[in-house]
């Protein structure tokens, strides 16, 4: 059994990138709240914005109404804009009402939006002020999920970057060895913890933690792996804390996951045999689980519209592990530094596009006639009606896809729409 994923020499700079701007069919960063509020179980996300913000989160979340959700919007009205009401006092009033209703909340995020940024509402100052008032019971932090600053998953990046400065610094000069940054499904996180333990790494922190009080400790010299490709600001914040990035592919599929663990093994000088002992069974299971999907997908052409920034690692996954042929891989932002190993693995001739002019991209998609189109919810049904087979990209964000045990599920996300096409006789 060989574990082939070694970082290939980066050919990243050789890949031509098509840069476009125009209408973008992507969510803003507020959407991240939909999964972040489930991940951090005692955190509340208060968007300071407009009715549009409230409507967006509600619509993006489907009509998933939890008993009482841990997110809400403080809707700015004309009185606030006209200066008729003292906006700080209004915000304090709303936060007080909220915290009274929800005594279980330990961490409150004030989330900036397009309107709050345009009117230059200083939520950082507000968070500091409110933190003083409600400390030690509730810590109040802030970040921006505005569409003028962030797309979709960049909201998580901004949130985690805001968390980093508040991660504890261990006493007695202890240096926590390893941190994994990026919200993962609980099931994947637990699997990763077991594999790291098998490699001898028993003290691994995950950012974000599941509760506000258990955020992982960070010290200068702590090494960190990224579990998600969209964490530019988080990585920068970690670097500022003196943490050290371990360059790695992303843990998608058998090869990606093994490559990710191998990067950790290399960083900690863990022997090949120990890495193999910890990962081999998972690697084999992942391959086995992907096999039927590979049969269905091999040789099929796939087109990615930009959405979550997961597109490059996913294109690497479908080409390398499922034998698909990426035609165009669109991403809202291309973060070359973290994607070097993934881009290097894309087949020659793949078009990588950054940004979007949706009309022109649709033209290219129609021209290319791919077998499968990965796109957002606004485009999927119209493209199906034109005869394309589509996969909604948001499912790739809302479903556990990381790690060995989810590799088959990830492959199924791509094969199911194809399978469905073949089954339907109407």
């Amino acid at each position: 059994m060989n574990l082939p994923f070694r970082a290939a020499p980066s050919s990243c700079n050789d890949i031509p990138v098509l840069r476009e701007r125009g209408q973008r069919e992507v969510f803003c960063g507020l959407t991240g709240i939909v999964w972040l509020h489930r991940k951090i179980q005692d955190a509340f996300f208060l968007v300071v914005g407009s009715r549009t913000c409230a409507h967006l989160i509600q619509s993006a979340a489907g009509v998933m109404i939890f008993a009482e959700p841990r997110f809400a919007t403080a809707i700015i009205d004309e009185r606030d804009l006209a200066g008729l009401s003292e906006i700080d006092a209004e915000l304090d009033r709303v936060v007080n009402r909220l915290l009274e209703r929800r005594p279980d909340i330990k961490m409150l995020f004030l989330v900036g939006s397009c309107p709050s940024e345009v009117i230059k509402l200083d939520l950082k100052r507000a968070a500091a002020r409110l933190s003083q008032v409600h400390s030690p019971k509730v810590r109040v932090l802030n970040y921006s999920g505005s569409g003028i600053e962030t797309t979709f998953t960049q909201g998580e990046d901004a949130c985690l970057a805001a968390l980093v400065p508040f991660s504890p610094l261990p006493a007695n000069g202890y240096v926590p060895p390893l941190l994994v940054a990026g919200a993962l499904s609980d099931v994947a996180e637990d699997q990763f913890r077991r594999i790291f333990a098998g490699m001898g790494l028993t003290d691994v922190g995950f950012l974000p933690a599941r509760t506000a009080g258990s955020m992982p400790a960070i010290a200068p010299g702590t090494k960190y792996l990224l579990a998600q490709p969209f964490l530019n600001d988080t990585a920068r914040a970690l670097d500022e804390r003196g943490a050290i990035h371990i360059p790695a592919p992303f843990p998608l599929g058998a090869e990606g996951t093994t490559g990710w663990f191998r990067a950790a093994a290399d960083a900690f000088g863990i022997a090949e045999s120990k890495l193999r002992a910890a990962t081999e069974a998972g690697h084999i299971r992942a391959k086995l689980a992907m096999e039927p999907h590979r049969e269905m997908l091999e040789g099929k052409r796939i087109f990615f519209f930009p959405d979550s920034q997961l597109e490059i690692p996913l294109a690497r996954f479908v080409s390398q592990e499922l034998g698909m042929e990426p035609v165009e891989v669109g991403t809202p932002y291309l973060q070359r530094a973290h994607l070097a190993q993934e881009i290097g693995q894309l087949p020659a001739g793949t078009v990588v596009s950054e940004g979007q002019d949706v009309e022109k991209q649709l033209d290219r998609c129609r021209e290319a006639r791919p077998d499968l189109v990965v796109c957002g919810l606004g485009l999927a049904n119209p493209l199906e009606a034109e005869g394309f087979t589509t996969k909604w990209s948001i499912e790739l964000v809302f479903t556990p896809i990381h790690g060995y045990e989810q590799a088959g599920d990830l492959a199924r996300l791509f094969s199911r729409p194809m399978d469905r096409r073949t089954r339907l006789g109407v």
Binding site: R21, G22, Q23, R24, E25, V26, F27, C28, G29, L30, T31, S50, R51, T52, A54, H55, L56, Q58, S59, A60, V63, I65, A67, E68, A72, T73, A74, I75, I76, D77, E78, D80, L81, S85, I87, E90, L91, R93, V94, R97, L98, C114, P115, E117, V118, I119, S146, G147, I148, E149, T151, E359, G376, L377, G378, L379, A380, N381, P382, A385
Partner: protein, 508 residues
């Protein structure tokens, strides 16, 4: 600043999108930041539309704010015209663009496009979705309507105004009402906005009168047409048997026809189903009603007069239509709940302990949480509100649909009695849902009103035990009544005697 968990209506530009998406040959250029494109999925996913909404978003970002967002708007509008070649265009701003004050109307005018360009002023920080739909439709009609060609006007012709994209059952309501009008010998001149082109809008004045199906979207436009073209409009929304009959009479009068034939021909099964003995158990069921004003008002009338329910709560999130809802509530001896605060509605439902909730998707969740049966009667909509089958709310067929969809969630007649008699049966008890709803249906959560609890004392253990023998769907009511009875009489400890005294008192 208003704390909002869930919102009944989107911002006003969503209303404008509902008009634009309903129409053909119209394009909407919306000055908006990245992210506002989420609105497309409302139409493509919830309504399962097979085409993208005809909307171009300028998608400005922070780095554009220091530069020239106005230029970005002009480029987007020019490109949209070149690509889509619409017959007319509407232009406007979403909430963030409103703050940067680029004046999309003025910018679009400067492009001198060879088509009508209609500017929209939709104040996002004041108004909401239905207002936006109404204002947009009104502006389009106002901008495009041509002088009436008197010679062309068929005295037995009308327009149907109001159906939009993403409307609650608009597609099927429209089919039902067109069928009804045609059966009466009335010609439909234009239906708008649904499937209308700008050219169709121009011809609106050529009909004898207007049928305003959804006042939330079309009453303002209807009034303007009435003033400017002497086109009268209908005031009755044909939801329910009686309202449909009233509507037929009103339309017949406007068309100079005799209503009798249509009234005789029109048949709904609702009256007989409601009179048939199995429906006896519907008598006096306590219902809570909340929705947009049109549907809430219609539901109140049907509930009271056509199903024999008791309306215990009535409200709307449509502040623009608060007055008629207040009046209707007053006639029922109630105070209307006018709010767009979901939490307030939830508190009211918990307090009233109704036996059936008629509401929106929000109330469906409230009812599910509190364990009450529920039927959806109004937007905001969900993918389930666009059923594959034909299921109008309007007209005689609509009344049939309403009978089924409201009665279905309730316990069936005999089942209710058996449950009452054998309440300790091991498989047939409180925790079992109505048998026709399948197993594992939501089990009621004890959501007891605390407002009227006696200040001191409370329930004696044996009285509490006796209360458990009351079937769960009336237990909340029994508890409330007993507590009120005790409070009014200064009884500190509720005994079995108090329970039955109260029962006797309230059965009078």
């Amino acid at each position: 600043m208003q704390l909002t968990l869930w919102t009944y209506e989107g911002p006003p530009h969503i209303g404008a999108m509902r008009i634009a998406t309903a129409m053909q040959g119209l394009h909407y250029v919306l000055h908006a930041p990245q992210g506002d494109t989420y609105a497309d999925l409302l139409f493509t996913m919830i309504e399962r539309r097979s085409a993208r909404p005809p909307v171009t978003y300028t998608t400005f970002q922070a780095r554009d704010l220091g530069g020239d967002t106005a230029e970005l708007f002009k480029t987007a509008a020019a490109d949209a015209y070149a690509r889509f070649q619409p017959q007319a265009m509407i232009v406007g701003a979403s909430c963030t663009a409103e703050l940067i004050q680029d004046d999309p109307g003025g910018l679009a005018k400067a492009l001198a496009l060879p088509i009508p360009v209609i500017p929209l002023e939709l104040p996002s920080y004041q108004k909401k979705e239905n207002w936006g739909a109404s204002e947009t439709f009104y502006q389009i009609v106002r901008a495009l309507a041509q002088p009436r060609r008197e010679a062309e006007v068929n005295p037995r012709s009308c327009n149907i105004l109001g159906p939009t994209a993403l409307g609650f059952r608009h597609r099927d309501d429209l089919a039902e009402i067109v069928k009804l009008l045609e059966s009466m010998g009335i010609a439909v001149n234009v239906v708008a906005p649904l499937d209308a082109t700008p050219d169709d809008i121009r011809r609106i004045p050529d009909a004898a009168f207007n049928v305003v199906l959804y006042p939330e979207a079309a009453e303002v436009a209807g009034r303007w047409l009435e003033r400017n073209f002497k086109q009268p409009m209908t005031s009755i929304v044909p939801i329910g048997v009686a309202a449909t009959r009233d509507f037929i009479a009103q339309v017949a009068k406007l068309a100079g026809l005799d209503a009798d034939a249509a009234l005789k021909a029109g048949e709904s099964r609702l009256p007989w189903y409601s009179r048939s003995v199995d429906s006896t158990y519907l008598t006096g069921k306590r219902v809570f009603i909340f929705g947009d004003a049109t549907h809430a008002l219609a539901a109140a009338r049907i509930a009271k007069e056509e199903l024999g329910f008791e309306v215990v709560g009535l409200g709307t999130y449509s502040r623009e239509f608060a007055r008629p809802v207040r009046e209707a509530a007053q006639k029922l001896g109630l105070e209307a709940l006018i709010t767009d605060d979901y939490l307030e509605v939830e508190a009211k439902v918990a307090e009233l302990q109704p036996e059936l909730v008629l509401g929106t998707q929000m109330e469906r969740h409230i009812a599910k949480k509190l364990g009450f049966p529920c039927a959806v009667i109004s937007a905001p909509v969900h993918v389930q509100d666009f059923p594959a089958r034909y299921s109008p709310q309007m007209g005689f067929e609509g009344a049939n649909v309403i009978f089924d969809s409201w009665v279905h969630p309730l316990m069936m007649g005999l089942e209710e009695h058996l449950l009452h008699m054998f309440r300790n049966d091991f498989e047939f008890n409180d925790k079992a849902a109505a048998s026709h709803l399948g197993h594992g249906a939501a089990k009621p959560v004890a959501a007891q009103a605390t407002a009227t609890q006696p200040a001191e004392g409370g329930w004696a253990p044996e009285a509490e035990k006796e209360l458990q023998k009351v079937p769960f769907f009336v237990r909340g009511k029994a508890r409330r009544n007993t507590e009120r009875f005790a409070t009014e009489r200064g009884i500190n400890l509720i005994t079995i005697e108090t329970l039955y005294d109260a029962k006797a008192h309230y059965s009078r």
